[in-house]
Amino acid sequence: MLRFILIFCFALAVSGSALYMTKLSVDGRYDRLSDLQAEITEAENRAIILEAEWAYLSRPDRLLDLSSSLLSMRPIKPNRVLPLESIPLRTPKDKENGGDNAQ
């Protein structure tokens, strides 16, 4: 009887210690998790602020002002725009001629 109780107590002590160690390790992981979550939240907040800043800096009126003062580009006249299909592609004969020229 005493032996059984001793073995039981020993098993209890071992499993209790194991449980405690597991608990400690889980606590550690929870700490790590909350750290990571805090990091993610912080990164998300930074991303949100950067996205808003980007939106603010790329306001159409600001871009218009910048492009008119810094670039020399102007709207293309409609008669200068053609669809890709309207550009004649090289025929096989043209290619042959091109090849001859290259030689």
Binding site: I49, A55, Y56, P60
Partner: protein, 581 residues
């Protein structure tokens, strides 16, 4: 005898009795052993119980998962409000994390020191303001909702008790007034109170983002073009709209004057009013497009029908006359191209009130639009829809609708004949759209051709709406406004509007521009009609927005253009000329 020891014998009375209880004599060793064992057992049970209790609590603490659960619920409760984007993913509204400064006056040791040290760090508050705040009988006095990281660090470095900083959030609109009326507004607690912020509050509060059908680039073009023209003609306001006619998506919706939603408290009532969706107006002659389409669809008129417009028409004592009088009969195309009120009235008389009303109803002009905005209005229409109403409605008086109403209806007449309810939400390509056929393709082909002639014919009223290469078709409308506080119309106060579609042979986009109360100008030779005021804005918008929308300029003489327009129109005795004058 043990109990008669000299030590005991020296005590007597109460002391001796107490002593015996504490230190009783044990004459019988067996009894003493039993007593000791019993005591040991009791002490053992108590000690074991304590340890078991401690162990049970320890096991409960180890196995409980409260910490995880609490973390999760906090995360769910603090989900930030969803963002609002345009159709290309450009941010229109988002919630930014922000620090706020608040005071606990009961914890403050020296109010004068706090006021003196805080004031330089708070641009919007003086020392007196801070002292006043500290005098309040409250444990929480908010001083500033927008603390920058630099000021946050500086305030913490002061180390003042009772001066607290906590996290909060701020709804930010990085594009300011650009889409103010659409996006709307939230209150201090982050609940939507106007625009999409209000109508989709449930979705946004749950942290879900919203993608609008608006293209911010086109929105900026429409807003700037309209703003410039309102300034030039000293108008009191205006509205602009661009809509995809194939799926009802609104690409741009502008109401001027507007306001910066980041400073909503400073906005005037007039600026907050959404003229494009909430305002209802008598639209004037742009309704002639609908009148013509209904007449053609119901076979009450054909291209060959002729209407005498040489004399003013008198209906119930009201004279109906033309802005540009013609001393002859006009055919149906000429009635629209020359914008003849007399001609339209005669066309409408043939249609009749019952048919006209039923078409107006089918085109959504008698009910509140199903737009995703709280700021919409019920149109104003006559309860008794008689002969006079039928006639006036044919040229846009007597029925007041919002620009969104007009756009939805005219998109059906100038598009492929189907009515699609306008929407502000981006539609997935595979979404099934509810389409209601109102006009046949033959009818709309004729209407589109007439609209092109309004722009391209030298006698058309919208010559200035032409954008070379983009084949614009349009109709102008200059409506006199009702006198304020009196009956009748004020001939000097106009509402000018133009509705246009491009490319008109296969229309994709509808553009609407309205300028409210423009004043005659020297450069416009004293005119303040739609052809002078609103039509140039259409041309400006089409020229600038077409490349953004991916519409390529085309050769006006291309065969497919002529195939998709009606060549047998006769204006001024000559055949149709769709190319620019």
């Amino acid at each position: 005898m043990r109990n008669s020891s000299p030590r005991n014998s020296k005590r007597s009375g109460f002391a001796a009795g107490l002593w015996r209880r504490v230190w009783p004599s044990r004459p019988d060793p067996d009894k003493s052993r039993r007593v000791a064992r019993a005591r040991l057992l009791i002490a053992g049970v108590i000690a074991s119980s304590c340890f078991m209790g401690i162990s049970a609590k320890a096991v409960w603490l180890v196995t409980s998962s409260d910490t995880l659960g609490a973390g999760k619920s906090n995360a769910a409760a603090s989900a930030p409000r969803g963002a609002i984007y345009d159709r290309k993913g450009r941010l229109l509204a988002s919630t930014l994390p922000m620090m706020r400064l608040h005071l606990d006056p009961k914890m403050v040791l020296d109010p004068y020191e706090v006021a003196q040290k805080l004031a330089p760090l708070l641009p919007s508050k003086s020392e007196a303001d801070i002292l006043k705040a500290l005098g309040r009988n409250s444990r929480f006095v908010e001083l500033d909702r927008k603390i920058t990281p630099a000021r946050h660090a500086a305030i913490l470095a002061l180390g003042l008790p009772g001066v607290n900083i906590s996290q909060t959030s701020l709804r930010s609109y990085p594009h300011g007034a650009e889409a103010a009326h659409l996006v709307g507004q939230v209150d201090r607690d982050g609940r939507g109170i106007a625009g999409i912020e209000k109508s989709l509050d449930d979705r946004l509060s749950a942290g879900r983002d919203v993608h609008l059908s608006i293209d911010l680039g086109v929105q900026a073009i429409v807003r700037q073009s309209l703003f410039d023209q309102i300034e030039r003609f000293e108008g009191v306001g205006g509205a602009g709209l661009v809509m995809d006619m194939q799926n009802g998506e609104i690409i741009s919706l502008v109401s001027l004057p507007d306001y910066d939603p980041n400073h909503f408290a400073d906005a005037s009532e007039d600026a907050v009013f959404n003229r494009a969706t909430k305002g209802v107006f008598e639209m004037g002659s742009i309704f002639k497009v609908l009148n013509t389409a209904i007449a053609l669809e119901t076979d009450t008129a054909s291209l060959g029908s002729s209407y005498d417009v040489s004399k003013p028409l008198y209906i119930s004592g009201f004279p109906i006359s033309d802005y540009h009088p013609y001393d002859r009969s006009l055919n149906l195309s000429e009635v629209l191209v020359y914008s003849s009120n007399i001609g339209s009235a005669k066309v409408a008389e043939d249609i009749g009130p019952v048919l006209q009303r039923s078409y107006m109803e089918k085109l959504g002009l008698l009910s509140r639009p199903s737009l995703e905005l709280p700021e919409t209005s019920q149109p104003l229409y006559p309860k008794k829809w008689g002969r006079l109403s039928t006639i006036t409605i044919s040229y846009g008086y007597g029925l007041s609708v919002s620009p969104v109403h007009a756009a939805g209806a005219i998109a059906a007449a100038a598009g492929n004949g189907e009515f699609i309810a306008p929407t502000l939400l981006r539609r997935d390509p595979d979404t099934v759209i509810e389409r209601v056929r109102i006009f046949s393709p033959e009818t709309t082909k004729k209407v589109r051709s007439m609209m092109r002639l309004v722009v391209s014919h030298k006698d058309g009223t919208a010559n200035y709406a032409d954008a070379p290469g983009y084949l614009v078709g349009a109709k102008t409308g200059s409506a006199e406004k009702l006198k304020k506080g009196a009956r009748g119309y004020n001939k000097k106060v106009n509402l000018t509007s133009v509705i246009a579609a491009f490319p008109i042979h296969n229309p994709r986009y509808l553009v609407f521009v309205m300028v409210d109360e423009p004043k005659p100008q020297k450069f416009s030779y004293g005119y303040a009609t739609a052809g002078w005021v609103a039509a140039p804005v259409i041309a400006e918008i089409v020229k600038k927005a077409a490349p953004v929308l991916g519409v390529l300029p085309m050769d006006i003489n291309a065969p497919e253009i002529r195939q998709n327009l009606e060549p047998n129109l006769n204006i001024g005795g000559k055949g149709a000329i769709f190319a620019s004058f």
